[in-house]
Amino acid sequence: MSRVSIDNLWMEYGDQVVLERICLDIPSGEFCAMVGPSGCGKTTLLRLLLSMEQPTRGSIRIDGQPLAAEPGPDRGVVFQRYSAYAHLTVQENVVLGLEFARAPLFGKLWGAKKRQALDEVRHVIDAVGLDQARDKYPGELSGGMQQRLSIAQALVRKPRILLMDEPFGALDPGTKAQMHDLVRALWRAERMTVFMVTHDIKEGFGLSTRVLAFDKVRHDPDAPQAYGATITLNLPLDDKPERAEIVRP
Amino acid sequence: AEKKDFKVAWSIYAGWMPWGYAADSGLMKKWADKYGIKVEIVQINDYVESINQYTAGGFDGCVMTNMDALTIPAAGGVDSTALISGDFSNGNDGIVLKKGKSVADLKGQKINLVELSVSHYLLARALDSVKLKEKDVSVVNTSDADIVSVFTSSKDSTAVVTWNPQLAEVAAVKGATKVFDSAKIPGEIIDLMVVNSATLKDNPALGKALTGVWYEMMAKMEAGDTAMLEHMAKASGTDLAGYKAQLATTKMFYKPADAVAFATSAQLPKTMDMVRTFSFEHGLLGEGAKTKDAVGIAFPGGKTIGDAKNVKLRFDAEFMKLAADGKL
């Protein structure tokens, strides 16, 4: 269960207001697509949901509890600038989440346990199409491959809330379709709550059960920084069959 | 518990090399065993550091000159006894000039020396002898390890005061003249084995063992024991000829009787008076010292100079006398 409620949230950097008056109530299991013009604050909202930063005003609650003050395995993330660990090969990057869970001491598995863990993640690596590149380092991957690696890495821990920032931006249509299937299947199986920033409106409407659009509604031509973006559209896609399963608030 | 283990420090210098030999040859162990104690002889390369360590309590005894014994441990409140007067410098310290042939030529020169050391004292005495004042020259503090290279390789350095073996090296520089040396003030720069007075009082065995081993070695040296001399030459980083040259300018008291005579002579208090005057004038007795009498010095036979209530440096002849009488 992970219902996300945001109450009158503001975020400011110095004297620039980035987000203002954000109020949201997202039922557990919802797949939210976030769209909006570049620079309007979508990434900022994800950072707040991740506890990377503290809102200037307002609060975020998960299932009624205040948001944990630090990131944790309940909230997985795929950053906008793909950021795998440069010192680990592809499969080591992916298996890392399992290692953290199973080897509390050093976060590293050995021998049979390691082999078993690698077996478990094999299908994820295959699913993101990196089977050929299993032993490459991120520095040897193409942009799209790095992005897929980031996705695989985040999915392995099966977080309750998944935050993704333009996760399919650097992918060709074929690969993108594969990724859609993968994320969709996992979302259905684990009943995660997903927030996905995307610039592809078709993708947004296709995958999600709710679309959130961000934009500035107030403008002051003399002080363009004075007003931030807010949610201009909060559209549950009630025609999607998956919405029937989502627990109502 | 009674103290059984003692530590004595020494550093490399012609007149002190026998201590290294005592440790390496096993003679020290022989004598220590004889009195039922253990004495560890530790070589410390940095002379000042060895005295500092002694003063701070790290050692029970240490070799040093009479002036340093007064200004470091004694002025630092550590009651010290000069157990053995081993030798005095008889040409081992000297003044060498590149420009000039006499002490009077020092006037106006920059002189490289270890400030506040016996070299400084020697310079003061040399200047006295020609009625010059320290103001007439300028002294440049130069560490003893660098003094040879400074004088040899730099044109800026025209005069140095130093001791052996550095003295021999600088005197050999082409065109350099030795204008003054400690042979002109015999008996004023004395090389001592100094031990903590309290320790010695509680443990006379330490005094006996040290004095005993010393005079056994002196006898060997006087007899010209080549193995021993070779050993000491090597340890001081030179060869036999080089070491003998250094010994030639060192007045060793090979016989304990000679040392006793020196320590009980009437000259010693006069020497020490000059040394403490110099030390006081240069602030070496510490800021607490308002007059040169602040630190008392005692001599064999009960004579003292300075503050008799604050005697911190004691010249002792008792143990050397035992050696002279063959009672060790």
Binding site: A69 | V48, A56, T71, G76, T152, S157
Partner: protein, 273 residues
Amino acid sequence: MGRRIINRRPGKGSALFWGALPFLAVLVLYVVFSALRLAENPGDKLLPALSTIADTIHRLAFTADARSGNVLLWADTASSLTRLGLGLLLSTALGLILGIGTGLIPYVRAGLSPFIAVLSLIPPMAILPILFIVFGLDELSKVVLIVIGIAPFLIRDLALRVEAIPAELVIKAQTLGASTWQIITRLVLPNVWPKLLDAVRLSLGPAWLFLISAEAIAAQDGLGYRIFLVRRYLAMDVILPYVAWITLLAFCMDWALRTMNRRLCPWLARGAS
């Protein structure tokens, strides 16, 4: 919920408290051991009482020396800082020029990098005589000793930093038409500048060390000179305040460099990347 320790940040007051704690601990330790030693021997020179130290400071810093007529502390400080400043300036300049040279230009790297590596490994104190012949005995040789001591480190550190600049940034500058020289002035310099200041901060300790060593060789004034001089009679009441003073001076320089870094490189503080 217990947060991870990496996410727990002390407040301003709390940071001050924790920061001061180890200093206080050292001070207390000193006072205790000093008192113990003085109880045993009132003339002890190794750990003089704080009051003795205060008296000495008063004498050194506020009364003229009988022999020279100078107020010793200030005279010493002035000479030492001049030497140190010159040495640091020269080293920084060398570090910048040769560090960027070896880091950026393959031919310079091929020619100089092994030589500088070897140079940085030669213990300068061991070849002092040769330095004396080349640089004489006066101020120059002291400055040179500092330079020899820290410049190789600065050069090598900076070269590593220049090599670490992402290739894309250099390529991009070239597509914008930059010449080698322009790449240096507009891309490499601003990029390694904060690193240079950090490296200089890290070499402040060694710089003081070499200065003090240089002043121990042949000098008539300077903080190092005084320390070595009074070491002859274990005047810790002079040495300790001098060391504290040196440390304070060094700390102020460190602080100044850090502040300068923040002022000159606003992009480091603004934004996450």
